[in-house]
Symmetry: C2
Subunit: 202 residues, 2 copies
Amino acid sequence: MKNEKKSYHHKNLRPVLMDEAAKMIAEGGAASVTMRELGKRVGVSRGAAYRHFSDKDALLMSVSASGFEKLSSEVQSVIQNGEMSFESRLLALGKVYLQFAIENPAHYRLMYGKEALSRWNQPVLKESADGLFDHLYEVIKGFQGECDISEKDTRTLVYVAWSSVHGLASILIEKHIMAEVEIEPIINEAMQTIINGFKAAS
Amino acid sequence: MKNEKKSYHHKNLRPVLMDEAAKMIAEGGAASVTMRELGKRVGVSRGAAYRHFSDKDALLMSVSASGFEKLSSEVQSVIQNGEMSFESRLLALGKVYLQFAIENPAHYRLMYGKEALSRWNQPVLKESADGLFDHLYEVIKGFQGECDISEKDTRTLVYVAWSSVHGLASILIEKHIMAEVEIEPIINEAMQTIINGFKAAS
DNA sequence: AACAGCATATTGACATTGTCAACATTTTTT
DNA sequence: AAAAAATGTTGACAATGTCAATATGCTGTT
């Protein structure tokens, strides 16, 4: 006898909904996530999700936040490698960031795209995203000390570095780079340009 | 007697629809564009647009393309100022680009966001976007000659510069930068970092 | 154990939306 | 002027988000 007997109460629905929504996002983009289809996949009715999320936007926002947390933890594990120079850490950080975006394009789009706009000031999202910012801040601050360019405002440099990597991620994801072009050299060149640019301004 | 007598045939509908859609995008984002509301605003029924656009996506794609053309023409007028050094041109180009994004955030989002994804290979969009790329290509090629860094692949440098500016535009638009921060210094720092980074790699 | 209250899930209903087919009206062509 | 093409309107339908009413299972109190 199968243990899969469907009980009226799912009893673990919230995380299951988020996981399945993330899968749907990966497969068909955020627009393909439908309350009805989501319920069908999880084996639950269309209305069940409303006991766990106030509406569809809230659900997507939670999925988005989970993406930030995943990315943040990957970034943190790179940063915490104390044996690397700050420059190496900066480069590794950029690569991890870009790898996440390339591997989870639709999820990344959800995190930074217009869907997040209306609810961006929601604490959940703000905290997750701020965590990422703080990680980058620490690395760049260390980099400034290492290279003696500490007279520049760290926050500004963070925004510059973040812009570069985020922009490259966005362009790669949206396939705005011709298909036959190798992306590895572009990533390296982008990171090196930022690093050199920071150094040159010392 | 008013000349506004509503004739059955609008006789100029296509461009009017696109203009009104652009206005709606500016006011309430691309999601707020509804065939019914669009028709109401223009004084036409909901179905009328389907004589000029195969579906809603096609309409938005055309609006997107018109955005590319506008941005492209602004960029071109900056570039064609022959009295400036290539470095100055590069900087001016970045500023024009960012200004467009800041002034037309929803339109910019439409141009580069996920909406364009499914139809990105459509000739209209591809040509408009490629035009922008070509403009940037010429400036950077000139810059390479000016600074003796011509051993680098121009195309790669274009992607790097474009990423930076596009990323900054995206972050500014999505309000991922804290409100109290001045954006002018960030823009300057970003452009200068790229330029210095390019120079340093010579 | 029994019961009450709460958490959770289902279903019917409704408004909104994109889209198509059938029809209406105007313009252009023959 | 008749025919044909172009353009605009309306009714209909399916898909979707969401809410209210209802049903079902769980948990703690007595």
